[in-house]
Amino acid sequence: MPETNLENITTSTGRPLRHEEVVVNVGPQHPATHGVLRLEVVLDGEIVVDVIPHIGYLHRCFEKHAESMNNYQQVVPYVDRMDYCAAMNMDFGYVLAVEKLLGITVPERVEYIRVIMAELQRIASHLIAAGTYGLDIGAWTPFLYMFRERERILDLFEMTCGARLLYNYMWVGGVSHDLPPGFIDKAKDFCSYFRPKVKEYNDLLSYNDIFIRRTANVGVLPADVAIAYGCSGPVLRGSGVDFDIRRDDPYSIYNRFEWQPQIGRGEMGTTGDCWDRYMVRIREMEQSINIVEQALNQIPDGDVFSAIPKRIRPNPGEVYVRTESARGELGFYIVSDGSGSPYRVKGRSPCFSNLSVIPEISRGCMVADLIAIAGSLDIVLGEVDR
């Protein structure tokens, strides 16, 4: 047996350990960390004393690649792969940023298609989030029910652009394919099929006594801490902050639809606990269905390819545009030097800031709670590491 020096054991950041404390690694390969995330946890029995997240296991140098592309359009597949569970939202954010830099507008039909795709993608992403959250808590069945619904959405996407997960669908100035015939009817069928399913999820999981006991009053994130740490999306709204970029900093045509941002009110425990964040996602799915239905009814005809520029050569300048992706505020900061290839593309990922709040809210909880908290923040490591 190798000799261990029992005198000066510290964590990787140099924090010395007391006598009863143990350092355990959750990850990078772990069934519950939603990707390659390493949480270095200092445990005192079952109580978490400190959590130190280590990221970077999925860093793929997207920003450096983007600088070497010849064309702003070529960056779109890279952007897809940032948050692979909500790729349409990633596309949307990037193309809006480049379009603002160029100063172009897109046809009405393109706007409607983009909103429909983004909202369907939001539902699909929340289905993953809620399903895997149930799996973390130990409920095996809702995961499969939610994936069954997700299959229907992926069928719609496959019908349109041929891909199920990474689409390369939204291009600068338009979209890559027009809606195929039959899409609108199939999407309307999906909307009426999906609404009762949310009730099924609520019966099976959301209002289950054991689930409530595991998630209510756990990982409470106060509103001021959330704002200070730059949290966004359901994490911020779950803490009671009424802020949704689609309404408060509007982009595209979201101001033409009637829908409500959902916020957590502490119904089952404290405002800002895991149950609130989870329930915000479930309720947002219902709101997204509202938006999709309204958009399907209002969508005009037109040519979707007319505004795609032949050459993208923006004037020198910079722009920061943010959109509400499924996980929060997705921002793209693009610097152009006047040539055809981007000078600097920075993706501000929502999960990066959401993840940084974990040490703050999980001190003093138990190991099982730590898993519940990490699941409720809904992180996708592709986005955190880029």
Partner: protein, 159 residues
């Protein structure tokens, strides 16, 4: 408040630190400040009642070439719903910028990323280590003059 009003307010309080105010459209306008007074400016931006910039949206590093590095702060106010972009430029030989991670805690990880990718040191940061690259990586990848090391711990990097 419009960008013009915000930049005017900054100029009247920090005359010496404001280097340049660039107003463009449709791209973003920005204010360039010096780095030595940055913490006071940041605290003023966050605490002044008419500005109340409490939400740091994004903190990016940029390599402007010719030995100049910079950081860009995109800040938003939840109460007044206005935004501002602040830029700081430093020399790439000894890049140092005061940290704002105690003013906006979200900057903690973002500054670590800028340090990792560009090598800009943030004075006063509680835990400045690499965040995306491995801890013992050499070089700062997003600089324009970055050369990939040939071997990392005995593994050939470019294959």
């Amino acid at each position: 408040m419009t960008f013009q009003e915000i930049s005017d307010k900054l100029k009247e309080n920090f005359k010496d630190s404001i280097l340049e105010v660039k107003i463009v459209s449709p791209a973003d306008s920005s204010v360039k400040v010096t780095s030595n007074n940055w913490r006071d400016i940041a605290r003023f931006l966050r605490d002044d009642p008419s500005l109340k910039f409490d939400y740091l949206m994004c903190l990016s590093g940029v390599d402007y070439g010719k030995g100049v590095l910079g950081t860009v702060y995109n800040i938003y106010s939840m109460t007044h719903k206005h935004r501002v972009n602040i830029k700081i430029e430093v020399n790439s030989d000894n890049p140092e910028i005061p940290t704002v991670s105690d003013i906006w805690p979200t900057a903690n990880w973002h500054e670590r990323e800028v340090y990792d990718m560009f090598g800009i040191k943030f004075i006063g940061h509680p835990d400045l280590r690499r965040i995306l690259m491995p801890d013992d990586w050499e070089g700062h990848p997003l600089r324009k003059d970055y050369q990939v090391a040939e071997f990392y711990r005995g593994i050939k990097v470019q294959y």
